[in-house]
Symmetry: C2
Subunit: 197 residues, 2 copies
């Protein structure tokens, strides 16, 4: 590579990384990724660091025709933690399941039988996989956002996604077209998070 | 953006993501990133998703003139878990501290007082920050690798890095020039880690 080409590669990487921002699922609409694009987003996860090659996480796609199952799980998880939730609150919980055209859950596989890799390292691998997917969606011109919330960790959600004993739900990733922009979030400065030994 | 430009942005992102691979610190040498390059690598971390804007992780640079402290910590951590470690084994543990020209530890900040964001989400943010740094180093033409090991989780290491009660060491990130290449690691296929609800 010439030094001009090297500079272009670096500039492209830094622009990609720094221009990406969290877009709330509420602000993501159609069109979402087509199946070829979805394939590229999912494949980007495979390039995450993976100590011991365990693939210590997995993805579950929630397609449009199955969103009603997630909606019921959100409503039931709400009732599980608040028996007095109103019909309006339950409806609000259900509506979250329909946000954004492409929705995936990422699940950590923390079973010690998989290999000796420490649970924290497995979560770092999962985070790297998530960032690869977010960057790929962003490079396609889509918006994307992570979401979680107490329902994610509920027994109801574990049942719906068929989680094994050592599996942990990490977050949802929603990808779609940005319907409404938002001011860019402030980023911390290096000095806010870096010190020298 | 024209559709040609869009295609170029996506191609550049996919090439960056898929051509990156783990390079063991043993295979990383001088030159490492200069201070401007190091600044760009560290700044890439700031663009990680960060629910609630907690900056739930921090970085500690271990400069060359302080590597001897890390070397002693590696040797002492070995003795902490194996009182019968030989002089040769202790020396081998020490040598790990000198590998690679640029070395950073990433530490998770899991203090509940920081905010309500779940510990797992904080680790996902840390993973995203790690991936941004690895991709930036790769875009500069450097090799980079994550490393951990039992010494990382030792009391001796906690003391050296001044970890607070709710802080957890996650991994070391080493960046440098690739001295010896290696065959690319196999990646899992989408079907190995993806299902549909």
């Amino acid at each position: 590579m010439s030094s001009t080409e090297s500079q272009e590669v670096l500039d492209a990487a830094l622009t990609l990384i720094h221009s990406r921002q969290h877009i709330s699922p509420k602000r993501l609409g159609d069109p979402g990724p087509n199946s070829e694009q979805a394939g590229k987003i999912l494949t980007a996860a495979s390039a995450a660091p993976d100590h011991g090659q365990l693939t210590p996480w997995r993805l579950v796609i929630i397609p449009p025709e199955r969103r009603h199952l997630l909606a019921e799980a959100f409503a039931e998880a709400l009732v599980e933690r608040d028996r007095e939730a109103t019909a309006g609150q339950r409806q609000e919980a259900r509506e979250k399941a329909y946000r954004g055209p492409f929705l995936v859950m990422i699940i950590a596989r923390l079973d010690p039988a998989l290999g000796p890799t420490h649970p924290q390292e497995r979560l770092i691998s999962a985070g790297c996989a998530v960032q690869n997917m977010l960057l790929t969606a962003h490079a396609m011109g889509f918006g994307a956002g992570l979401s979680s919330g107490r329902a994610l960790y509920s027994q109801r959600m574990r049942e719906l996604f068929g989680l094994a004993a050592h599996e942990q739900p990490l977050c949802f990733i929603t990808v779609g077209t940005v319907l409404r922009g938002k001011a860019a979030a402030a980023r911390p400065a290096i000095a806010d998070y870096t010190s020298t030994l």
